[in-house]
Symmetry: C2
Subunit: 280 residues, 2 copies
DNA sequence: CGTACTGTTGATCAAAGTCAATTGAGGTGG
DNA sequence: CCACCTCAATTGACTTTGATCAACAGTACG
């Protein structure tokens, strides 16, 4: 008898996106790189609040090849980075609240991928001038942007390994572990569950398997009572069991201390650990 | 009758790595981002020459998890970026002359992957202080470093799409197209051929297929007279035919030899995006 | 000379793709 | 309110790509 049926999760379920608290998801995440001071956090918040737009589910946030006039920060909702090629459509990344979508395009001159909203997404646009101001007054914050961008690259390497080395079930399990861990970083995975707008087709595409096979793999995970996705909610009753099942190691997310992240980041780290420019 | 047999390529073959000319492979490559002035090129060259070491084939250039004290630039030879996980070993990138190996580790605090020499590799190490001097005096050069780092991320996204969407033969064909194009950027692919130190096991690993299957796929490509790898030399008689076979589109490499306006937009970037050394 | 690595080939088998069809929920126009 | 449509999830039968297992040959090398 499956534990993870609809009845089990319905009572707890408020089917709305978790509201943000005092600080943005991005600020929340940057604390895992280096703790921000109050003034830094405030500056970031003010910058983000300057220009927020709402994107409908399915709409395009960043068009591939478009001129990079600003960067987009996801405030709420999920998006995915998509490569459209002659071979079809491929999801190459999942973007969660707090993610910076297209920092790279600023330098490469053109986005090589599109970013599409999965559910309704609120996006903060930061102009070049806004970025310039931020980095002039609060260099640690803009450095955090680079950190995020490099962590994203690390995640992409992990995807390559995931797709090449694991079978279908474990690929999906690994992706779910990754998403759950990243949601943890912004405080959006609570009570072993979170809203989960990805369809099975999305999951399959991201993992390099067909929709049908994603379906079967997911049912298998459910039969093992590792994962349940019902009514756009994800439930992972036992995170460590799921991680063990697919050999998930969160090191690639470059979080400083996994066991006590929040407590740790509340404390001030010595400048040298966050200073790029320490003496060699 | 196969055209691409040993006899056909032997006469031309000097089995040594192509020597560098006046400027380094890195300088050569950076020209595709923004043309460098003579003084910029000289400064870069002097910086690279400061500290060059030679790594034996198979040895490790950058150890995963090691403290990032300097960055490594490949002067000659090939290397590969490897992820060692509980699921085994996975090649997630191929590094050619002119590549910067571990720029990312400077900010994330620890390399999440190793870099291993495939054949004998000469590596230039650039210290933090060297980087600081460079970006203070020649910010366009250090900006080129960021460009390279972001292009690498784009390549990784292409790998994901490659592995997810193509069958074994086309994966290999695509990887070969990518490598040939990147060698072009540093002037190391001439006469439809280049030294090719990757083994079939390497190729298979990078493409997510077994060694045996890589072997069969490669023979098939050879039967189609698209590719030949003999005695560690790669010959591609008809690049456009190979590109058509695997739907290779070089856009993801972000080469911008065509337009001048892009170089201008690079000039307007906020200072910190090119300055590693903002005060904390 | 043995040892190890690379390339090669063959036989067998399983994981995943393909094709086809059904259900159910949600949305929309008449 | 119902007929109709689309999309997500689901299931089954069949096919195929590529993995696995098992050799073996050529070469380099200590």
């Amino acid at each position: 008898m499956p534990i993870l049926d609809r009845a089990a999760i319905s009572p707890l379920q408020p089917p709305v996106q978790q509201p943000e608290r005092g600080s943005s998801a991005l600020a929340h995440k940057l604390h895992h790189h280096a703790p921000l001071t109050r003034s830094e956090r405030d500056a970031l918040r003010k910058l983000l609040d300057r220009n927020i737009r709402t994107i409908a589910a399915g709409a395009t946030i960043v068009e591939a090849g478009s001129p990079p006039n600003e960067i987009s920060v996801i405030m709420s909702g999920w998006a995915c980075r998509v490569k459209h090629g002659s071979c079809g459509r491929q999801i190459v990344a999942v973007h969660l609240p707090g993610d910076i979508c297209d920092f790279n395009a600023l330098i490469t001159g053109a986005a090589d991928t599109s970013v599409e909203a999965i559910d309704t997404v609120r996006v903060a646009g930061i102009s070049r001038s806004g970025l310039r101001e931020l980095s002039a007054s609060y260099p640690r914050v803009s450095q955090g942007f680079w950190w995020d961008s490099l962590v994203s690259a690390s995640v992409q390497r992990e995807w390559i390994a995931n797709i090449c080395q694991r079978d279908a079930q474990r690929r999906i399990a690994h992706l779910i572990c990754e998403i759950a861990t990243r949601l943890d970083l912004v405080g959006l995975f609570e009570d072993n569950r979170c809203p989960f707008p990805l369809t099975q087709a999305n999951l399959g595409n991201a993992c390099g398997i067909t929709t049908e096979h994603a379906n079967r793999s997911l049912r298998h995970l459910k039969a093992l009572e590792l994962v349940s996705i019902i009514d756009r909610w994800l439930v992972v009753p036992d995170r460590s069991a799921l991680a063990a099942f697919c050999d998930f190691d969160p090191a690639f997310l470059h979080v400083r201390d996994h066991s006590r992240q929040l407590a740790e980041s509340a404390r001030e780290l010595p400048a040298t650990t966050i200073d790029l420019h320490a003496r060699v």
